[in-house]
Symmetry: C2
Subunit: 185 residues, 2 copies
DNA sequence: CGAAATGTTCAACAAAAAATGAACAAAGTG
DNA sequence: CACTTTGTTCATTTTTTGTTGAACATTTCG
């Protein structure tokens, strides 16, 4: 409520937005950013995503959109898109702060949630797409002229298609198991 | 040995290299390629990798470098680099074929091996790099002026750094477990 | 309502990644 | 050896992806 109380001041635009922390990253923050940018790279995600997440990860209080843009010296566009992606993964949540209209962002730090978001948004769709394509593959296989049906070649291809189905089954079974394994022990 | 026998023919360069299969992909092969290219995309790997692997996956016999280049209508450069990457992952092996000097490539189709190759080549290095950065993070944290050491902010950051170490431990433990889970049941 | 604050979208630009192909090495072959 | 086959390297081009910033909503406030 103290926040609600000081929400009135009409001076903010002139300067005090800058009040909630220096524009410059501290040495420790720099290390966090460096670490997460590397991590982002390794997953082939845009660097900006790593920067934003790192900043939030290293911040005790929720940060506003503007604070992120300023501290990371990043364009509004990137910040907006980056935050959207992070939210879609469940890696960042928007929190409500009384008396402040602006969004305030916080990092989700539970590994299990992060991984499960990643699986849900990136891997699951790929598996689904894979299922579709496997379907089409079957169709193509059945379209093979029936004269050729008994050839070794045909048998081989059928075999390989089955192997793919095995892969899919494995993925559908073991990925959720992996997530469970990550439970806060 | 039949291969060794017909290895002599001196006509090959003029045309018959094309002899070992049509340059055009069959409808079924096209489906395989389509499927694996999609898969490659989902892992953010170059499309050429998906094409090559698909072709080998769908081929009963080992294929030569040249056959790959021709059937996929791909540059030699791409094929060379793609094959190198695939081999580094253990996704493709070179087999010896008697009487033929050329390399012959085969796809590894055991999911467990593919995943473990992926972890070894892509994830493990990232984890190592992460460990390094975590080290530097600790250093930066210890470099904080001792006056500030007792602040809530400092405690928070220390906490977050520990959280990261927890992530690492989790990764080191559960990824190998995942691979085991993929064992040919 | 009009002005200010807060975000989002999207066309244009920049940077990064992948594909190409010609030059180069290596290893047979006659 | 000279010559061919086989494959790799790498500078260049092409394609893809990410970033920027200005225009455009939307909401709040006086």
């Amino acid at each position: 409520m103290s926040v609600a109380m000081r929400a009135k001041p009409r001076v903010r635009s002139a300067l005090p937005a800058t009040k909630s922390g220096p524009d410059r990253l501290s040495p420790v923050e720099i290390e966090f950013v460096d670490l997460f940018v590397g991590l982002a790279r390794s997953v082939k995600a845009p660097k900006s995503i790593g920067e934003i997440y790192a900043l939030l990860f290293a911040s005790a209080e929720p940060l506003t959109f503007d604070a992120i843009v300023r501290k990371l010296a990043m364009s509004r566009g990137s910040a907006s898109q980056g935050l959207r992606l992070l939210r879609s993964f469940g890696a960042v949540k928007a929190t409500y702060v009384a008396g402040d209209r602006r969004d305030h962002f916080v990092a989700e730090t539970e590994l299990r949630k992060l991984v499960s978001g990643f699986l849900r948004e990136r891997i699951a769709p790929a598996l689904e797409g894979g299922a579709d394509r496997l379907g089409r593959l079957s169709v193509a296989l059945n379209a093979v002229p029936s004269g050729t049906r008994r050839s070794a070649e045909f048998e081989f291809l059928r075999h390989r298609a089955e192997r793919l189905q095995g892969w899919q089954r494995m993925a559908r079974e073991s990925l959720p198991a992996l997530v469970k394994m990550l439970d806060p022990t």
